[in-house]
């Protein structure tokens, strides 16, 4: 089998109606790797969490742009989701399960926990008032 290498970038408005668009677009991009139904669902759920966080927390539901960069190399997928919004002061605290700064919006605080459960690795780079970039990796076809 020839070695697979592919890349894509997208930019879109931080609107909740784009959450579905973003996860479906990434899902379609990685479909070339022939992921299982479960693997595809994992990736879509993780992307949905990261994009939703940009909208609710990064931009606090005000206007802004979100960037997704996605690359495939062999059977490895790497997805970065980025905003230039509010940023995170304490990343370790933000990643703790059930921690949320927006309980009044009935947030469960499980977004990062889901990204970690569904992807192999999750890296967060963030700075207050500069923005946040979440990079997630997953190897397809390893069960």
């Amino acid at each position: 089998m020839e070695s697979l290498k592919n890349e894509m970038k997208m930019e879109f408005l931080a609107a909740s109606s784009n959450e579905g668009f973003a996860r479906v677009a990434v899902g379609a991009f990685v479909a070339g790797l022939n992921p299982t139904v479960d693997e595809l669902a994992d990736i879509k759920t993780a992307v949905s969490e990261a994009v939703t966080n940009c909208i609710i927390h990064g931009y606090e539901q005000k206007e802004g742009h979100i960037w997704i960069q996605c690359s495939i190399e062999g059977n490895k997928v790497e997805i970065s989701v980025m905003d230039v919004g509010k940023g995170i002061a304490d990343i370790a605290q933000a990643r703790a399960p059930m921690f949320t700064t927006k309980p009044e919006l009935e947030r469960s605080g499980m977004g990062f926990a889901f990204m970690e459960a569904f992807m192999d690795t999750v890296d967060v780079v963030s700075e207050p008032r500069k923005g946040t970039c979440v990079t997630m990796r997953k190897t397809i076809g390893e069960g």
Partner: protein, 101 residues
């Protein structure tokens, strides 16, 4: 038979949207709370028969509605979960706080 909600024998059945994310959650919350107020039922059922996707935004909606119903001594359950939603229930611990069928 198609429905958005059904009321039977003191039980309110809420049909969940096709994709339960943050976008759908906002609308669902309002609608569900309106119905819970209008029909002070003893039990609430979340029906996922038409739902293919749910993320952590759905958890907040479900827990919030559970509180509203249980406040009045009510009973809550979730039915017709696909594999993806089952895993979301499992990982989030929702499985432990409500009956799943």
């Amino acid at each position: 038979m198609d429905y958005k909600y059904k009321k039977e024998y003191g039980c309110l059945i809420l049909k969940m949207p096709a994709e339960l994310d943050h976008h759908a959650a906002e609308f669902l919350k309002e609608e569900a709370d309106g119905l819970i107020l209008r029909y002070p039922v003893r039990s609430l059922v979340f029906d996922f028969a038409d739902t293919s996707f749910m993320d952590s935004s759905g958890i907040g909606v479900i827990i919030g509605r559970c509180k509203n119903v249980r406040f009045g001594g009510g009973y809550v359950k979730a039915v017709h979960l696909n594999e993806q939603i089952r895993r979301v229930f499992q990982i989030s611990g929702l499985r432990k706080i409500m009956e799943v069928e």
